[in-house]
């Protein structure tokens, strides 16, 4: 079971680069990369709020629950 972060999809829709988004929401590009590549173990509400605000979306647009794990 996994939570998939569909950040790439929303970033493409809003036409915003990773560096730009990281700067706007106040996290490092490295941390944004951890999030994008589904390596994060947890996300703060403050980060989620900042992402939803910047990408003009809902948390459900960014986070998806999947029963099958990414790693097999």
């Amino acid at each position: 079971m996994d939570i998939i972060v569909n950040l790439d999809v929303m970033m493409a829709k809003r036409k915003i680069s990773a560096g730009e988004l990281a700067e706007k929401i106040g996290i490092t590009p490295a941390n944004l990369s951890i999030l994008k590549n589904n390596k994060a173990k947890a996300i703060r509400f403050s980060t989620l709020i900042a992402l939803c605000n910047e990408l003009e979306c809902q948390p459900g647009d960014l986070l998806e629950f999947r029963r099958e794990s990414l790693e097999h």
């Binding site: 941390n31 944004l32 951890i34 999030l35 994060a40 947890a42 996300i43 703060r44 980060t47």
Partner: protein, 151 residues
């Protein structure tokens, strides 16, 4: 003078060097030390005891070098701010096993010289403390990982 973390680590490293010096001196003079101890002791007397004492000294020295090397590497890592890390957990594991190894050796040695049982208990107890510290480091490392990957 304000005492800081780096100075504390350097002091610990200095003690490790001091113990290493003492251990090296013991290794180099083990033959004479054992001879002197046999003469001094009332419980040990013959050439068999002399040989057994040498085995205990040199065997114990191996565990002591492992212990000192592990502690040195641990302090070196701490100086570089590498604390709750798998490498340090492994070093603590070796330290614990070195203590238990020394305890086992002293337990065997107590069969020919009973006072070694005191060192057995002390070494085993220190080994237990190190094991518990290692357990703490394992939990801390997993908590640190959790935090490092919290965005």
């Amino acid at each position: 003078m304000k005492w800081n973390q780096n100075q504390s680590i350097r002091l610990s490293q200095a003690f490790i060097l001091l113990f290493s010096g003492i251990l090296l001196a013991v290794d180099l003079s083990a033959l004479w030390l054992a001879q002197w101890f046999i003469q001094f002791s009332m419980a040990l007397s013959d050439s068999l005891h002399y040989r057994l004492l040498l085995i205990t000294l040199y065997g114990g020295s191996i565990f002591a070098w492992i212990l000192l090397y592990s502690l040195w590497k641990l302090l070196h890592n701490m100086k570089q701010s590498i604390v709750f890390d798998p490498a340090n957990i492994q070093l603590l594991r070796w330290t614990g096993w070195a203590c238990f190894g020394g305890a086992l050796l002293c337990l065997a040695s107590s069969f020919y010289y009973l006072p070694f049982i005191i060192i057995t208990i002390a070494a085993a107890f220190v080994g237990l403390i190190v094991r518990i510290v290692k357990n703490v480091f394992v939990v801390a490392e997993s908590m640190k990982n959790e935090l490092d990957y919290t965005v």
